[in-house]
Amino acid sequence: MVDRESRVAVKMGGDSPLTATPSQQFVLMLSRVWAWVFLGLMIAFFVIAVPFVSNGAVDFLTLRNSQNILVAITPVLLLGLGQTFVIISAGIDLSVGWVMSLASVLSALAIRTAYNAGVPLFPSAVLGFAAAVGGACLVGFFNGVIIAKLKVPAFIVTLGSSFIVRGASLLLSENTTVIGLPAGIRNYGNDALIYYIRGEGGGLYLLSRPEVTGDLLRRMDPILPYPVVVTAIVVAIAIFVLRKTQFGRHTYAIGGSLEAALRTGIPVDRHIIQLYMLSASTAGIAGFLSTLRFTAGSAVIGDPLLLASIAAVIIGGVSLFGGAGTVMGTVIGALIIAVLTTGLVMLNVAAFWQFIVVGAVVIIAVLIDQSRDLIIGRGRTG
């Protein structure tokens, strides 16, 4: 971000030891695993506390609940995935929430228009996907070009573009929720890969939703709803790209030291443009999925998600100074937020506690990140 120079200064300080003492090693170990441990402890807490508080009437550890949590993290996680890359490169993208809204509106308009023009259901959905990701990519391109070529801080550019995007999507949606989508769209957004019906007369059903009613319907649990499947695929691609490809290595390099990246001949400008397009396109996928899930496009759908997604990224251990972070960290960060929401509802505690806990965890995450940096110096993790 803005502190590129101070970061270099820290690094130039030169007193970071190459061999760590045992206590330093402990901090390093802690910095790698604490989010997992925290998530585990939180789940353990809810597993014990929820049945206790409800006198055994409510269980936290159920199939349905696990699937709910997975569905709940999809928007936050998708916004966070692109953001992970951007923040690793020492940038930030404040436009993702409203880019998601724009994508939601664009995809709904595209699906409705195509379907009403006689295009079959599935190709209509594909067109909706293209409109969502295409529109989002345009915004990302705009952000990236101004940041990379005109050297305007990312914070300012994406803040500005987020307002533009918000206005555009409210105008496009004509101030209202975009409805009139074909009914089959709802199935794409809500059906699951597998269905499991507990008990008598039940069983496992693959790929198609069993037509059951009454008691059987109540005992039916959807496993891996399609939005979760799509998100999982995107996560897998993101992990691969960040860890195994030149694109990933360049991202770390630019975040670690912009100057060094330039000297080693990395096409920094082009890479930064691609990063913001990537960030916008995962937000675009989130918008598309929300259109499927709610069977309508909405210009305000992404409003509450931007800060949650940045919180997820930071809890996941991505350094705001760039150069460090993983995709799995962001997944854990998003899971922590979703588990908290669901767990607190089940405990019947006001969901506002979620904000207090998430806020505290964000600060802890940054503290741990900083103590790690003090020990090993910035920009050396990968």
Partner: protein
Amino acid sequence: MSRRQSFLALVTALVLAVVPQVAIAQDTIKIGFLPGVVDPFYQVMQLGVEAAAKKLNIEVVTQIPATWGVEVQTPILDALVARGDLDYIVIAPTDKDQMIGPLKAALDAGIKVITVDTFVGDGDYVNGPVTFPISYIGSDNVEGGRIAARGLAKAIGGKGSVYINSTNPNVSSVEGRAVGFKEVMGKEFPDIKVVGLDFNLDDMNTAVQQTTAVLQRTPDLAGVFGTNVFSAQGAGTAVINAGLGGHVQVVAYDATKFAIEQLRAGVVSLVLAQKPFDMGYMAVQFAAADAAGVTSLPRRVETGFALIDKNNVDDPAVARFIYQVPGK
């Protein structure tokens, strides 16, 4: 109105007749209460829910979203469903189209749905596109808009320009209010012109700004209709800030204490109080009645309004409709 009142009386009689048996036969049902957002209106509704629940010995699980929106409300709804111990959900859906899917999923999981204040589909659960909720209990918002229009028209002497400040698009409650308001202005008051409708997206600061801008754009603006708490408070504030208190009449939907304060100060001419306590109370009674096997519950109940102006604001019979939460 009299038809509606007699209908209401019938409903009340019906529910009351059922209630004693309910208390004996069904003391085990559990209700989830999920309003739209934190605000005084829903807080009063929560009082109604809790009062009825206490009386009928029903357990209620209440969760209030911090911000308005389907992406906030849906995960909470899903979590309530996943608890697995609820029989009914009393909810104010935050979008009449987008919440259909999530509520259908709750129904599939065996939880019956009662919508309060806002509805899904077009609110007609008999012949409309959405029929699965047991009932919609709320204000007839179109009628509320009409009442507001007549009140404002009277206050400004039947002529001039008026402006509507609303919250969010595609929310059944505020949308209906604007529709009713425009309808009456168009039909009954040819000398009144509606000069604009803005959405403040539930942000009072935005409402202040928008109203301020309209005051500048339309110097002869005679009146403003604020379609809910945020809108009316924002519009009233803008009028005060512009030094136009008393010259520009404001009709406020929702009787918050702030709105009443402004009524006393002469900024707001008329406050339309909804009856959130009744909505909450009745929704719980309906759940209990349904659990007891009642099949003829009305699919739509309009709880009516109380009109508050300077002359009756101190009358206890009217003042009890001001949204007040004890200890707050």
